[in-house]
């Protein structure tokens, strides 16, 4: 598997769910990991502890990425920690799936400020630190819902579509030195969609609809991020890699 020894990587939303699995995977691959979290300090500390136990360096950084100044300050602190960033993974995000008439002003703003602007400001603030790396790569986190529609949660789907186009636009703008790619997970069992996978009927429906006949785990998203950050993916940029058990096939 891809070796990340010597890489310094910031993972936003690293205290739980997919971000946590990514932080742990990168640590296991030898990376030094800056673990960002919003509110779960204990969970972030646990991720740091586990990475350190495996022999890599890690430290936690807190911010609400929906707040521009906080996001920028957090990224700056993470970048100044080792003086550069070789990788940034923007996994911080929220999810809710309200029907059209239920989408209030706050839902809308929270979604776009966290998922879309949070991702954008993170990369923007990281750029000077990525410029100091000779292997710089960004991996954003989209969703199968960024390119395939479902009923409910239109703002979430729109936010993920925005992240995909952000990925392509920034891949061009930051070329040739910084690569930018995205992973687009399908139905993955995490905290933020607990109401989905803990509902037996919905759980079964998704498993049935997924060609691989099951939900994915966060640990099944992390290796793709590891690959995309590594030198093995040196010629991969602007790509959206689906990790969805085939659910996007029809």
């Amino acid at each position: 598997m891809s070796d990340l020894a010597g890489h310094v990587v910031l993972v936003t939303g690293g205290s739980r769910g997919i971000g946590r699995a990514i932080a742990l995977e990168l640590g296991a691959a030898g990376a030094t990991v800056a673990v960002h979290y919003r509110s779960r300090a204990a969970d972030a500390a646990e991720v740091v502890r586990r990475i350190v136990e495996q022999g890599s360096e890690a430290r936690s950084f807190s911010a609400n990425v929906a707040n521009r100044a906080e996001a920028a300050a957090m990224v700056r602190a993470a970048g100044e920690w080792k003086g550069r960033l070789d990788g940034v993974v923007t996994s911080a995000g929220i999810y809710h799936g309200p029907a059209l008439e239920e989408v209030g002003a706050e839902d809308w703003e929270e979604m776009f400020r966290t998922d879309v602007e949070g991702t954008f400001r993170t990369v923007q603030a990281a750029r000077p630190f990525l410029d100091r790396s000779d292997r710089a790569a960004v991996v954003t986190v989209s969703s199968v819902l960024g390119s395939h529609a479902a009923v409910g949660g239109a703002p979430y789907q729109m936010a993920k579509a925005a992240i995909e186009q952000m990925t392509r636009a920034l891949a061009l703008e930051l070329a040739p030195r910084i690569r930018v790619n995205s992973v687009a997970p399908g139905f993955i069992r995490t905290d933020i969609n607990r109401t989905g996978h803990e509902d037996p009927a919905f759980h079964a429906l998704v498993a049935r609809s997924t060609p691989l006949k099951r939900w994915g785990d966060p640990e099944e998203v992390a290796p793709s991020v590891r690959f995309l950050l590594s030198r093995e993916a040196d010629w991969v940029t602007g790509t959206i890699l689906g990790i969805d058990g085939g659910i996007a096939l029809r």
Binding site: M1, S2, R168, A169, A171, L172, A175, P176, R179, G186, P211, L212, K213, R214, W215, G216, D217, E220, V221, P223, S224, R226, F227, E232, A233, D234, W235, V236, T237, G238, T239, L241, G242, I243, D244, G245, G246, A248, L249, R250
Partner: protein, 259 residues
């Protein structure tokens, strides 16, 4: 219920494995601990060299000449490989040709030959390998091209056939799920025998460097790394995907900075 982790591939089959991307894929699998079966079309010396490189890595190798355009022989090659090496974990139908056909006067025989090589052959290879892959819980990685979703009138039938390969990856992924995963890679401009003329001409070489956001041609190893990843346990929830490996070539317009 999540899938148990799968061990690394033990036997990989690559068509068109003597040169270019196929050779890099064959060697990458060998380096990762797999025995390798590969076919080649017309350069036995290159095939011998690839075979001895695989042996040099301490792996077993089975190889012989087989034209991907001959679907019957493609299937026979799969059976021989499975029987020689005991099993099949990964199949990479990579053999390809890319004649400069243009678009205006493509003879029916040219179409037939291209589609036979780039579509029917890979289909026949995967079809023959399916029983073996079902047993091993293995996977397929097809070799498409960014020509499959961008415009290439200079090689119109090639581009159309590669679009077909992307389609093949999707339909086969659904057909063979959940036991067998099927994905594809879509390379951009990679430095191989197939592109030598373009690379050797400084004008076209530079033009392609400039049109590639990463600023360089791809190497066969760039593509091989993506194939190895898609065939690995780390990709066990990925199926039906086409992973673009093109240095950003297919991303969008390069009209300079928008104003």
């Amino acid at each position: 219920m999540s899938a148990p982790t799968t061990p690394p591939p033990r036997v990989a089959l690559v068509t068109g494995g003597s040169r270019g991307i196929g050779r890099a894929v064959a060697l990458a699998f060998a380096r990762n601990g797999a025995d390798v079966a590969f076919s080649y079309r017309r350069e036995p010396a290159a095939a011998d060299e690839t075979a001895s490189a695989i042996r040099g890595l301490g792996r077993r190798v089975f190889y012989r000449a087989s034209d991907a355009a001959d679907a019957t022989d493609a299937a026979r090659f799969v059976e021989e490989a499975a029987s020689e090496l005991g099993r099949l974990d990964v199949v990479v139908p990579n053999a390809g040709i890319a004649p400069d056909t243009g678009w205006e006067e493509v003879a029916p025989e040219t179409w037939t030959h291209l589609l036979s090589t780039l579509l029917v052959g890979p289909y026949a290879t995967v079809r023959a390998a399916t029983p073996h892959l079902r047993v091993s819980g293995g996977s397929v990685v097809l070799v498409a091209s960014i020509a499959g979703f961008s415009a290439y009138p200079e090689e119109l039938p090639y581009a159309a056939a590669k679009a077909g390969v992307i389609s093949l990856a999707r339909s086969l992924a659904l057909a063979l799920a959940p036991q067998v995963r099927v994905n594809a890679v879509a390379p951009g401009w990679v430095r191989t025998g197939m592109t030598r003329e373009l690379y050797d001409d400084p004008r076209s070489r530079t033009a392609i460097e400039r049109s590639t956001p990463r600023g360089r041609w791809g190497e066969p190893e760039d593509v091989a790394a993506a194939v190895i990843f898609l065939a690995s346990d780390g990709a066990r929830f990925i199926t039906g995907e086409t992973l673009v490996v093109d240095g950003g070539e297919s991303l969008g317009w390069r009209v300079g900075r928008l104003r």
